[in-house]
């Protein structure tokens, strides 16, 4: 479980996150949603420690992120898998080497064991036959899949996905969403997905937090989001034709 308590973050005096308090549960797809520029990515980067909050706490289980020294943060990060918006696959490595990368650092497995595990992860995300290709030879959807395979390579307890559907066609987006949801349930991970894609929200949002202008305005799940009374969230949801039709009963 991840707990966020009264989190504040600003850049050059401009507040970006204001008093955010949330809890993310294990075995669920927890979503951070909001319009572009609302502070979703800043919140995600604070959660994974790439940015330091001005005040407030982020707790992984009982441990506060701000009180961890370098070694403890390093140990925690080995339990975290991250799928970045642009996949962030290493250009210098093939697909298989990308997935093997964290294993090379943090396991004592033989090359054969690493290859076997990497192939298993690639099979989980339905990428086979592309092990020797370089990232620039893959489509956007394939890159995302490989990114997920790399993120789950060390059986993480926590999985963070930043806009996993950006730049993908609707069909591939749904496949990626389902993949994230299935892996979350299969491995019992605490998954946090940062998105503004309504299809994803309605498809896999077990727990949803809506952020607008840096403030958390609403929390719920995919079943209650369409019944919300929160005006900002209603406007956000109704920007999607399907969701608007459901809300308006058409």
């Amino acid at each position: 479980m991840i707990k966020v308590e009264h989190l504040y973050k600003s850049f050059d005096g401009v507040p970006v996150l204001k008093d955010i308090s949330l809890e993310y549960e294990s075995g669920k797809c927890n979503m951070i949603i909001g319009a572009s520029g609302s502070g979703k990515t800043v919140l995600l980067k604070n959660l994974i420690g790439l940015l330091q909050p001005d005040s407030g706490d982020i707790c992984y289980g009982e441990d506060k992120l701000s009180e961890m020294n370098y070694e403890r943060q390093k140990a925690l990060r080995q339990k975290i898998g991250v799928l970045f918006q642009g996949s962030a696959l290493f250009d210098f490595a093939t697909v298989l080497e990308n997935v093997m990368f964290p294993m090379e650092f943090f396991t004592d497995w033989s090359k054969a064991q690493m290859r076997e595990r990497a192939r298993y992860c690639l099979e989980k995300v339905n990428v086979t036959g592309s092990e020797d290709k370089y990232p620039n030879e893959l489509s956007g959807g394939m890159q995302k899949r490989v990114g997920i395979a790399r993120a789950i390579a060390l059986n993480p307890e926590y999985l963070f996905c930043d806009e996993p559907n950006s730049g993908l066609d609707p069909y591939t987006s749904i496949l990626i969403d389902r993949l994230i949801s299935d892996l979350t349930k299969e491995f019992g991970m605490t998954t946090v997905v940062n998105t503004h894609d309504m299809n994803s929200i309605l498809e896999i949002g077990d727990k949803i937090g809506f952020i607008s202008q840096g403030s958390l305005l609403w929390q719920g799940d995919r079943h209650t989001i369409l019944k919300t009374e929160c005006k900002e969230l209603r406007d956000f949801v109704c920007a999607n034709t399907l969701a608007r039709n459901i809300i308006e009963g058409r």
């Binding site: 990060r77 991250v82 642009g86 290493f90 250009d91």
Partner: protein, 248 residues
Amino acid sequence: MLNKFLTNVGRYFLFLKMVFRRPEKWKLLWRQFIIEADKLILSSIIIVGVISVFIGGVLVIQTASNLENPIIDKMYIGYMVRESLILEFCSTMIALILAGKMGSNIASEIGSMRITEQIDAMDMMGVNSAGFLVLPKILAATILSPLLMLLSLALGLFGGWIVVESTQIIPPPSYITGIKAFYNGFYVFYSCFKMSLFCFMISSISSFNGYYAKGGSLGVGRSSTQAIVTISILILLFDLIVTQLMLY
């Protein structure tokens, strides 16, 4: 401006502290060292070789045209060419050339990894990204660059010999006698030391600029240019300082 300069100096030393943290696995450091040695040093051999041969030839002609006095022995031309190559050309001039080639290569490689979040991905895995990406580059450049200096010296002298043989500007035996005369091994050590120091600066400063690049592809280009300008100035400054400390 002074504030920005001091901030950058401080960040540079903190960056070096990150780079020289104990590697996660020595085996991976060794593997990366071999890759970087190939990328940074072996790939520079051709440009260093070509430039050295031509400069050696030019130095012979220029020195000969300035020493036409009949009472000065022609072998001094060979001697002066050798000393010019050892003391300044093979270390400082080659380092300035490498600043462009190696520096832009490193800054743009690391910079594009930064803006495509590849460095963030490494950090998130718990990998010391600065150590993994930068330490092998610094080690390869610093340890192996004296070999480039020695190669440049040999090829510079060879270039001079080609000109002497083909133009007979001075008698070839005088040139050979000159390049063997009054040999001082300390000068070679001094030149190797300078080369190592300059290559340490090239690899670390360009890595630093790339590592903190921001602002998309324009930012990568800016960081690369900034790295080369900074390195070129520092090479000239440290050339002066090291020469004063070691030779005077």
